[in-house]
């Protein structure tokens, strides 16, 4: 589903991705690990089509996430490393997702509920005024409600308490069939149950890639 071919991305003179080649297929649940600055976020952003590569390419189901971004992103759910300070209120953010991505509003509320996020009382609150954990729960609920075949999480559990983490992993377990699940994480032990492939990155390269 995701094909990364000889991908190189530089920022000025520093190389963030150095000729990365790899493939992610259906039913792969991958933990991507590596030190800070290894290039994990850069890799994920390249999959989302945010970066113009210096060399190589990314194809998702045969399409480029840059030139065919609408088609490609229909099938991707993404939760970033840090929830951004979006100024829309919750209701507006939900309508943004519902309208742009054909997601059912009820499903977002359902998953928010499963994540124990009290969403009904906060619908008119600005997103950036929620606590870090609440933001993350909402973004996770949205990512699950979108029912994408590719789910990408960039360190999504940073702000979650242990109970919320358990909820999250439980929901993911229910939703991972027939999908590609990409997980950037520093806590392998937490996601061991979920993942069947571990990738280590360092200095912009994939240093190990094994199935477990």
């Amino acid at each position: 589903m995701i094909k990364i071919d000889n991908l190189t991305k530089k920022f000025g003179s520093s190389i963030s991705l150095d000729s990365v080649t790899c493939e992610f297929n259906k039913n792969d649940s991958i933990a991507i690990m590596g030190a800070n600055g290894a290039g994990k976020t850069t890799l994920i952003r390249s999959i989302l089509g945010y970066y113009h590569p210096d060399e190589g390419k990314v194809l998702i189901n045969g399409y480029s996430p840059i030139t065919d971004r609408v088609r490609v992103l229909k099938d991707i759910s993404f939760v970033p490393q840090l929830p951004p300070p979006i100024k829309l209120n919750i209701e507006e953010l939900i309508s943004y997702v519902v309208t742009s991505s054909d997601v059912e509003r009820a499903l977002i509320l359902h998953y928010a509920n499963e994540m124990k996020l009290n969403i009904k009382e906060n619908l008119n609150k600005s997103f950036f005024k929620l606590s870090g954990g609440m933001k993350q729960k909402l973004l996770i609920a949205i990512s699950l409600a979108k029912k994408s075949n590719i789910i990408i999480y960039d360190e999504p559990t940073a702000n979650l308490d242990p109970n919320a983490r358990d909820d999250f992993y439980r929901l993911l377990k229910q939703n991972e069939d027939e999908k590609v699940l990409l997980f950037v994480t520093h806590r392998l032990e937490e996601v061991k149950e979920l993942v069947n492939r571990q990738i280590y990155m360092d200095l912009g390269k994939v240093t190990s890639d094994e199935r477990v």
């Binding site: 089509g49 970066y51 971004r69 609408v70 929830p83 997702v97 742009s100």
Partner: protein, 275 residues
């Protein structure tokens, strides 16, 4: 299409809640209120009277402050969202960059245009209520001029926003452009004129490429050309082309200028890394 209106609508709602919008609306609404309190409509100075005088004063102040308002509030719209990672999340949904960018512009246009227009409409209504005669041709001209003024500076602001790296730089550039168009061009041209090295036609043509100068002249173009307030430039222009032609130019040119800059901004936005 639904995404375009979605983005525009959400941006509009977001702006309306923002503090700058409150200040913005208060400034223009307050201006009108102040004119009425000061009795501008009752006095008669230099041949202008009643509502026409009020509208003229309103547009002359607006020409100066609207551009800087638009520039400083808008110049950070895209660069700011990029800086604080809002783009990284919002653009992970299947919305084309075209819809995102132009949706933002449309939303922002409505936000900046409606308050200045409403302030003028309120003036008309209140003036009529007090028994003043309504200068419809001036009202319609100013509606068009404000539209053109908003487009021009919004386009410039989005262009800057598409390429600047940091918000501070964006603000700096915005302020420079404003002061440059407001004063520097004129000062430079006046000194050129005094040296008499270039023809007056050339100098006037150059000064007319500045949208702010066009607005200044257009704002008084419907008044009697004999009036002394017109100044040599306005006099010269209205002497060379018909009034209709000039009014058409004074609205068409800035709108096109705004569209060109906005389009350039889009090209840059698309070419560059998004986050």
């Amino acid at each position: 299409m639904k995404n375009l209106s979605l983005i525009a609508y959400l941006d509009l709602k977001e702006s309306i809640r923002a503090k700058w919008f409150l200040v913005y609306s208060l400034v223009f609404g307050g201006l009108i209120a102040l004119f009425f309190i000061a009795g501008v409509t009752e006095s008669q100075v230099m041949g202008f009277s009643g509502l026409s005088r009020l509208l003229l004063m309103y547009i002359q102040i607006t020409i100066v402050i609207l551009p800087i308002f638009i520039l400083i509030t808008t110049v950070r719209s895209i660069s700011g969202d990029r800086d604080n990672h809002i783009l990284e999340y919002m653009l992970s949904f299947p919305i084309s960059l075209k819809q995102y960018y132009w949706g933002k512009i449309i939303g922002r246009f409505i936000t900046v245009y409606l308050p200045v227009l409403f302030a003028m409409i309120i003036a008309i209504i209140y003036g009529a209520f007090k028994g003043a005669e309504i200068p419809w041709s001036i009202f319609f001209l100013y509606t068009g001029l404000l539209f053109a003024l908003s487009s021009a500076f919004l386009g410039i602001a989005f262009f800057i926003s598409s390429f600047v790296k940091s918000s501070e730089v964006a603000l700096g550039i915005a302020f420079f452009i404003w002061i440059f168009l407001l004063a520097f061009i004129d000062i430079a041209l006046i000194s050129l004129m005094m040296q008499e090295r270039f023809s007056t036609e050339l100098i006037i043509t150059i000064s007319m490429m500045n949208p702010m100068e066009i607005f200044r002249v257009a704002a008084i173009s419907l008044f009697d050309p004999e009036l002394t307030v017109m100044g040599p430039v306005a006099y010269y222009i209205l002497d060379t082309m018909s009034q209709k032609m000039f009014v058409f130019l004074s609205i068409g040119y800035p709108v096109i200028l705004g569209l060109v800059f906005a389009t350039l901004g889009f090209v840059v936005f698309k070419k560059k890394d998004l986050v």
